[in-house]
Symmetry: C2
Subunit: 449 residues, 2 copies
């Protein structure tokens, strides 16, 4: 198979090496095999297919380490409401009527948005996850996916036992899949009993799988878990034997120093979702302290219903800015650290090896920033442009395993126009559901759109 050579004005291979100006990246099949200045590379690979990005900045594909992709169908449906009103009056009634098709098309909407944000790998937990898997396979993105598990019946799978069966079936089916991995995904400690967590651990152990759980997100959760168990969520997990390098703990807004040390000792992976944590009033995770203790911290957007986008550029920027602001120290979290979290650390946390850098031997998972955008001028510093100035709309091309998923702003794997039409119809169906479940006084009070 012919090599592909990608020339670009800038290549940022990883945070540990200097960006290359007028560099070339050489790809054979799904892997990067060479990297260097244009004048060295082009003569060496004269038979290769050459792609010119004169105004491009090639960077490692971003890793969205936590989301609920199908929730794009609920983006903006209810804002600035108290959490319980939002959940009980809007989200739960809709989720009780959730349709497989909504999940499938909502995921596709999110996949398109993620590709346009330069994301090549993501992690998802929701209901009807087989629909998420189906859409993701079509898209060409890589992902760690799992059906969200609760003690109470789910509109997705029915009883918990069915959910655990579904998880095992998925683990078997995707055991050797090159792009899709399955995680055992108990929702939280307040929706899953200790018994349920133990069952999850058993399955995960059997398959060597990751466990993906929301943890220590806000003070209400900590209070509830303390009430039930007499200890905080990390110590409950410790007692259950859940702390390991396969545990992915999402949010961790409320980790104490001691808990950070505990997680570090057990090599637990943490996912930081700064914008969702802010928007829901959960607080700000102690990321600098986590990094100091060598915790591996990835970055996630969380679901688009509480964010309200899937833009990892914005998430990196916010992650950086809020720590500088609250610590009153502009050096406390740097662009370099945050970019590493959003690429190689995210990839490793989700169990994808040789991913997150553009060096020989790594998978060719990358995105290209189009430097013609006015907000990307001048180009003194590619890393600063990526973390502080870029937006999802500035990515022109995305490649996974050496294949383009987006080329010159056009999504090649999904039908964007069709997806948007379907979403318009789903919007109407969802409004009908709300119409039925709302009573008159609530309508007059304009709780809903």
């Amino acid at each position: 198979m012919k090599e592909k050579v990608l020339y670009a004005k800038w290549i940022l291979p990883s945070t540990e090496v200097e960006p290359l100006e007028n560099g070339c990246l050489v790809i054979r099949e799904d892997k990067i095999v060479d990297l260097g200045l244009k004048d060295e590379i082009l003569p060496k690979y004269s038979q290769a297919e050459i792609f010119f990005f004169e105004n491009g900045l090639i960077f490692p594909g971003l890793v969205n380490a936590h989301t609920h992709a199908p929730m794009s169908i609920l983006r903006g449906i209810a804002e600035d409401l108290p959490l319980m009103t939002w959940l009980t009056k809007i989200i739960f009634p809709i989720e009780a009527h959730l349709q497989k098709e909504w999940v499938y098309w909502g995921t596709k909407l999110s996949l398109i948005e993620m590709i346009k944000s330069g994301i090549t790998l993501f992690c998802d937990m929701y209901l009807f996850e087989p629909e998420v898997i189906r859409a993701t396979e079509e898209s060409g993105l890589k992902a760690l996916l799992g059906e969200g598990l609760f003690d109470f019946p789910s509109p997705g799978y029915g009883s918990l036992e069915k959910g655990l069966e579904l998880t095992q079936e998925l683990l078997k089916n995707f055991e050797n899949h090159s792009k899709i991995k399955i995680a055992v995904s108990p929702h939280t400690l307040y929706t899953c009993s200790a018994e349920t967590i133990k069952k999850c651990l058993k399955i995960a152990e059997k398959f060597g799988a990751k466990i993906h759980i929301h943890l220590s997100e806000n003070k209400e959760e900590i209070q509830e878990i303390k009430k039930r168990y007499g200890k905080t969520p990390p110590y409950v997990l410790k007692e259950l034997g859940a702390l390991s390098e396969n545990l992915i703990a999402v949010h961790c807004v409320r980790l104490s120093k001691r808990e950070i040390e505990l997680f570090s000792k057990h090599k637990v992976k943490v996912v930081h979702c700064p914008e969702s944590n802010l928007k829901l009033g959960s607080g700000i995770a102690p990321v600098p302290e986590m990094l100091k203790k060598n915790l591996m911290v990835g970055i996630g957007t969380d679901g688009p219903a509480s964010n309200n986008d899937l833009d990892l550029f914005s998430e990196m920027r916010t992650a950086c800015l809020i720590q500088k602001g609250i610590e009153e120290n502009p050096l406390v979290l740097t662009a370099k650290e945050v970019f590493k979290m959003a690429t190689e650390i995210g990839a490793k946390s989700l169990g994808f090896e040789n991913t997150g850098k553009l060096l020989p031997g790594y998978q060719a998972d990358l995105a290209i920033l189009d430097l013609t955008h006015v907000n990307l001028h001048p180009d003194y510093n590619p890393l600063a442009l990526l973390v502080y100035s870029a937006k999802s709309g500035c990515v022109s091309d995305v490649m996974v395993d050496g294949k383009f998923l987006m080329r010159n702003y056009e999504i090649l794997t999904l039908d964007e126009k069709l997806v948007k039409e379907k979403i318009q119809n789903i919007k109407k169906e969802i409004l009908k559901v709300l119409e039925k479940t709302f009573n008159k006084s609530e309508k007059n009070n304009k709780v809903f759109p």
Copy 2:
């Protein structure tokens, strides 16, 4: 003159009225004269020129209430450095060599970025401000502009006396200008003596002009002013007789409750620059407390060297999110409040009347969000889309005083391609300046790009 009728899927005339679905806005010359549903408006204005935005959301043009537009030429030149290193090793050496032409073209780059962010009015303070004025007049944007004044000699005007003369000259020349107003712009209390502030006040009084100053930005400033005057910046201004409805105090990160009440009593205008305050480690302004005391608070991006963009969508979103996060209360600052700050309050603060709403009698200063962007689906709630999901790249059209400045993503008033070419050249000149001013050990330490 024929009316213009703008049809759109959604019109958000102001935060006080419901968004109109399938609405029309009628514009005669520079003003809005009518507003209503498509079926009412179209037959009524059959002779008008009609513009269809089937996938558009028309909203009042955003107001960037504080920036240093020419600093786009320094975007990303130095990141994650201690403030004093950044200032003394990078920014000051470059500004000492500042060229009029750099200011002119840097402003144009920022004007293009602002138009693409849906901004129709902004406020600026920098050096060589006549160049900012020249570029702004070409762009068609509205602005409140002023030469930054310091006690020490400026590369822009020379001695302070010359700076004060320049300010008076500009005030005279632009006294009756419909789009450009001049502000007296003492830089800060630590770069301007009490004498200088008094001179500024005198000039402002003579012309009924606004005074635009950075105030209470970070703890170092408060300490310095306390050392000099034995009181905090707001009380120094009080003593100098500077507190009035014409005072625009930018940042106000460190206002105490008492100082907020003082400002409220004197009707001082505040500009909140959340992202710059975070990035420079200054802190988070107490915006909810300010709103509670009926302070008028606008929103600004600050200069693109410390932000690193001119995206007021991002600024609105960050303003909302950080307050929810630090107060651990998702209701503490709503999309509605923040959108009002970024439109009508900003406009009023800068002294522009009948601006910031799309109601009959108001100026036709507006922007149009292109709802075909994937991150703007579905469209349950126009206001939520604007504050929580929109990005600068999603604006397709911008109009000021009834004239399009951007039409279908194309800037009509400035030559975008030429501006980008000029910026590439200026980048090279700036790197040469830094090359000369840096010594060898600094180069090896990679303080600069």
